[in-house]
């Protein structure tokens, strides 16, 4: 169910009309639209926004770690419509135990590196990703540096 100020927003209502169960929460804060999407529906919503709502560009994919809260992770997608000059932020919440979400590389090939980066630095698994390897850290690295329980300084030997 959309909140009052989201019902004024064309993108939010379009997504809601497309799939009434998709939006779990949302807000319009500081002029930026955020929609929280149910985990399993991210690919279909991205496809809908890309092909039907003119959000043809994927600007970035990243994640936020809310350790020790649960659900621990938020995967954040920023989409951009060149024609409408608008941006929208999609979010999916993931549990801290075996976090996994469907890959959106089938919608944008460019999601490839972004998802690899999130996999590398947060340890979130992207199901269906064609080439899920570490991208920043060495291949034999232990741990995921951007997690909040990962130490900033080195360990004492």
């Amino acid at each position: 169910m959309l909140s009052e100020n989201l019902r004024q927003n064309a993108v939010a209502t379009a997504v809601d009309a497309f799939d009434a169960d998709a939006i779990t929460a949302g807000k319009l804060d500081r002029g930026e639209l955020t929609l929280e999407i149910a985990g399993g529906k991210i690919v279909s919503i991205c496809g809908f926004l890309k092909y039907d709502q003119k959000f043809i560009r994927l600007s970035s994919v990243t994640a936020v770690d809310w350790y020790p809260a649960e659900p621990r992770f938020e995967v954040v997608y920023h989409l951009h419509s060149i024609e409408l000059k608008q941006r929208v932020r999609l979010k999916c919440r993931l549990s801290g135990i075996d976090p996994a979400i469907e890959s959106i590389t089938s919608v944008w090939r460019g999601a490839n590196w972004y998802e690899r980066e999130v996999f590398d630095l947060f340890g979130i698994n992207f199901v269906g990703h064609p080439d899920l390897r570490r991208i920043m850290m060495p291949d034999d690295w232990d741990g995921h540096p951007l997690r909040k329980d990962y130490p900033v300084t080195g360990t004492r030997i």
């Binding site: 930026e32 954040v76 920023h78 000059k85 570490r134 850290m137 951007l146 990962y150």
Partner: protein, 409 residues
């Protein structure tokens, strides 16, 4: 991978056609220390003769964990980190970070500071494009252009030094305005530079635009379709060289860019030469913006009237108790930023630069993600160089204008 020769087809019959991938391919490791990869980019090229059949970029050699570092410092200290991300366009990064934080704070900065930001950001764009043009020309074999470009770059760095005391890692934009009062005599200095600069651009064009070797090496090279670019996340001059008029400064203006009169240059050829033309034209447009900023610089304050965010004047600190307390608070613990999240996008010399900042209401950002243009652009490398000659790989990747610090963060 291997595609064995088709039985029954003689070798001489296909010799004049496109080279067919033979069974003997060579994998060439280009980089991470190759001079024309401009940093530490590694490309794994699978070659059939001189033709690139497959390319696999390998990045991460310059990963410094800067996003993690952001979470450890307070907002004002983080300005110094943004310089180090894209070290050829430090002020663009400063600007992105400051705008994102100011959006979280709901802070409005005075007109003079905004115009000053526009002027210096455009000088940064010139600086960055000059480095690009010089090094790109060296890669392709035109040595002298490099010397011309770096002559003007030196002037710009001297201007930065005059403003901030630093040539490269300026950190001149701070949250709430500028770091220091603009120095005395800056107008004459910038004017002297900007008056001669357009003629200097003519000089570069004299050296390159009709140069037969240059056009031979760049025209028709490095083609990639608009659909592929949009799909792969390419932004900036590369998109504009394909005819797409996308520029954040025009589409969603920030820092009063809407008050400036400038064009967004585009070309439709979509090759290395078109990208060169777009960037050269951008230099002319940036020079126009700098000139307008110089002539119409509004008077007034260079930092916002927000005592809880902006450091007080030295003079006030000596006479007012309140100012002294604010100074102590800001220096020791920073300022608290209301909880929330923003995604601030600006047009850096390389393309779309986005700062995604999450605040949890404390004095340090909870999470910072930089959507850097180089990262997005570099992702198209395999598509861009597929099937081209290995010598053209250099021209193609040079035309992307990436910075590895910006890619790896």
């Amino acid at each position: 991978m291997s595609d064995p020769a088709i039985p029954g087809v003689s070798v001489t019959a296909v010799a004049d056609e496109q080279p067919k991938p033979g069974p003997h391919r060579m994998v060439l490791n280009m980089g991470p220390q190759h001079p024309s990869t401009h940093g530490v980019l590694r490309l794994l090229l699978e070659l059939d003769g001189e033709n690139v059949m497959k390319c696999q970029p390998d990045i991460g050699y310059l990963h410094t964990g800067i996003e993690k570092e952001f979470e450890q410092k307070n907002y004002q200290q983080d300005v110094t980190l943004t310089d180090r991300v894209d070290y050829l366009a430090p002020l663009s990064n400063n600007l992105g970070w400051c705008l994102a934080t100011e959006k979280l704070l709901g802070l409005e900065i005075p007109p003079q500071a905004q115009w000053m930001r526009v002027m210096l950001t455009e000088l940064t764009r010139l600086n960055s494009h000059l480095v690009w043009l010089g090094t790109h020309a060296i890669d392709i074999g035109a040595m002298s252009v490099f010397l011309y470009c770096f002559r003007e770059r030196e002037d710009i760095l001297r201007i930065f030094e005059m403003f901030s005391g630093q040539r490269m890692m300026t950190s001149y934009f701070r949250i709430g305005g500028l770091a220091l009062e603009p120095p005395r005599g800056w107008q004459q200095r910038v004017k002297k530079f900007i008056d001669v600069f357009p003629s200097r651009v003519d000089e570069y064009e004299d050296l390159l635009t009709n140069n037969r070797i240059w056009t031979g090496r760049t025209k028709g090279i490095g083609h990639i379709s608009i659909e592929d670019m949009l799909d792969l996340g390419v932004t900036g001059p590369m998109l504009r060289a394909a005819g797409l008029k996308v520029d954040v400064r025009k589409d969603t203006p920030y820092t009063s860019y809407e008050k400036f009169d400038f064009e967004v240059p585009t070309r439709t050829e979509n090759d290395v030469f078109a990208r060169y033309q777009v960037r050269v034209e951008e230099m002319r447009q940036s020079a126009r913006i700098v000139k307008q900023a110089l002539e119409g610089m509004p008077p007034g304050a260079w930092k916002a009237d927000a005592p809880h965010v902006v450091l007080p004047d030295r003079e006030k600190m000596k006479t007012q108790m309140e100012a002294l307390i604010y100074h102590f608070k800001i220096v020791t613990e920073g300022f608290r930023v209301p909880a929330g999240e923003v995604y601030q996008v600006i047009e850096s010399p390389r393309g779309e630069l986005g700062y995604y900042v999450v605040s949890d209401g404390t004095a340090r950002p909870y999470r910072v993600h930089m959507r850097t243009p180089s990262f997005g652009n570099l992702q198209c490398t395999p598509t861009l160089v597929m099937g081209s000659l290995i010598a053209d790989v250099i021209a193609s990747i040079g035309s992307m204008d990436f910075v590895l610090g910006d890619t790896d963060r």
